[in-house]
């Protein structure tokens, strides 16, 4: 009887330790967005770019897969790379991975959110809404200031 009580205590303790461990490092991704901004673009029907840092404090990776915005007909994920001084921009339909306990910087001359077919010019000082869809974290709505 005494033995079974102590066994039971050990089992409870182990469960508690495991639970504490899970609390310290979540197995699911936890994504937040820092410093989003969009560049001004004066042409209705033209393109614009949005940039930000995506932070994942979770223990597993996540992936930015798509987006929507009332500021443009389409939102796509693109990447600009440099080869011998020539800038090449390509769509990345598979999206961008945000590593576990890591961050991904979306910046001019690198990975970025493309606003295609602007419904109105993007003017410095205004704020636009962009929604980003992550594979595991779901949807995140952003208020994105337009600045130079």
């Amino acid at each position: 009887m005494r033995l079974s009580v102590s066994l039971c205590s050990v089992a409870i303790l182990m469960v508690l330790v495991l639970a504490a461990g899970c609390g310290a490092q979540s197995a699911s991704p936890s994504v937040t967005i820092e410093g989003p901004y969009a560049r001004p673009s004066p042409s209705e029907g033209g393109n614009g770019g949005a940039f930000m840092t995506i932070v994942n404090t979770g223990g597993t990776a996540d992936r930015l897969v798509s987006g929507q915005s009332s500021a443009s007909n389409t939102v796509e994920l693109h990447e600009t790379t440099e080869e011998g001084g020539v800038m090449k921009m390509r769509p990345v339909p598979g999206g961008f991975e945000i590593p576990a306990n890591g961050r991904l910087e979306l910046k001019p001359g690198g990975k970025h959110v493309m606003l295609i077919g602007l419904t109105a010019p993007l003017v410095a000082g205004q704020t636009i809404e962009i929604t980003l869809d992550f594979e595991k974290s779901g949807t995140i709505k952003l208020e994105v200031p337009v600045r130079q």
Binding site: S41, S43, N73, T80, V86, M89, P91, Q148
Partner: protein, 195 residues
């Protein structure tokens, strides 16, 4: 004998000083500096544009297109910062944005785009045939890349050289900078040419 060796020693000491007197640009220099190749086209306000008309000013030339969402507005925003830093002397520094997308970038569209950064900046439309020779003369690569419609709704983008070219007051091409060069470095070179 002694005086001859003293003169030799003195000459040896002065040699590095003479070398120091030539200014070192922060970009990749053109050695020797040669006349900037002609750029003839239409400015965003409809007026005829010629790079030769800018003699007496320092000029910074960039080749880009208005549908470019990142490199081109970033460079123009940096040129705006440069103009702000130069203060009153900015009036002697011309910024020239040459479109490598003449089909979409009409003078009107350039007029919606370039003045947004600074009213004083030039936005130059060049007819496609002439543009080819300008690109070649400046060593600019700019090629249309059509996207798979399943991957993108934007039709095409343009792979393009993102260098910034610095021209002195006499119309000579002195240096060019890669994308991302610090504005402070460009400012130092511009100020050297203004002095």
């Amino acid at each position: 004998m002694r005086s001859r060796s003293s003169i030799f020693l003195l000459a040896l000491l002065l040699l590095p000083l003479a070398a120091c007197s030539s200014y070192r640009y922060h970009g990749i220099p053109y050695e020797p500096a040669t006349a900037a190749p002609p750029i003839e086209g239409t400015n965003w306000n409809g007026a005829a544009f010629s790079i030769s008309s800018l003699q007496g000013n320092v000029a910074l030339v960039f080749f880009g297109y208005t549908s470019c969402p990142d490199i081109c507005p970033t460079t123009l925003a940096e040129m705006r910062v440069l103009h702000e830093k130069l203060g009153a002397r900015a009036k002697d520094v011309a910024v020239v944005f040459v479109s490598v997308d003449p089909e979409r970038d009409t003078a009107q569209r350039l007029g919606e785009y370039v003045p947004l950064f600074n009213q004083a900046f030039y936005g130059v439309h060049i007819e496609p045939d002439s543009l080819e020779s300008v690109k070649k003369a400046y060593g600019v690569i700019a090629e249309k890349v059509y996207y798979n419609p399943q991957d993108s709704a934007s039709g095409y983008s343009i792979d393009h050289t993102a260098r910034l070219y610095l021209i002195d007051k006499t119309g000579k091409l002195v240096t060019s900078y890669p994308y991302g060069s610090p504005v402070e470095n460009i400012q130092k070179d511009v100020e050297h040419l203004l002095n």
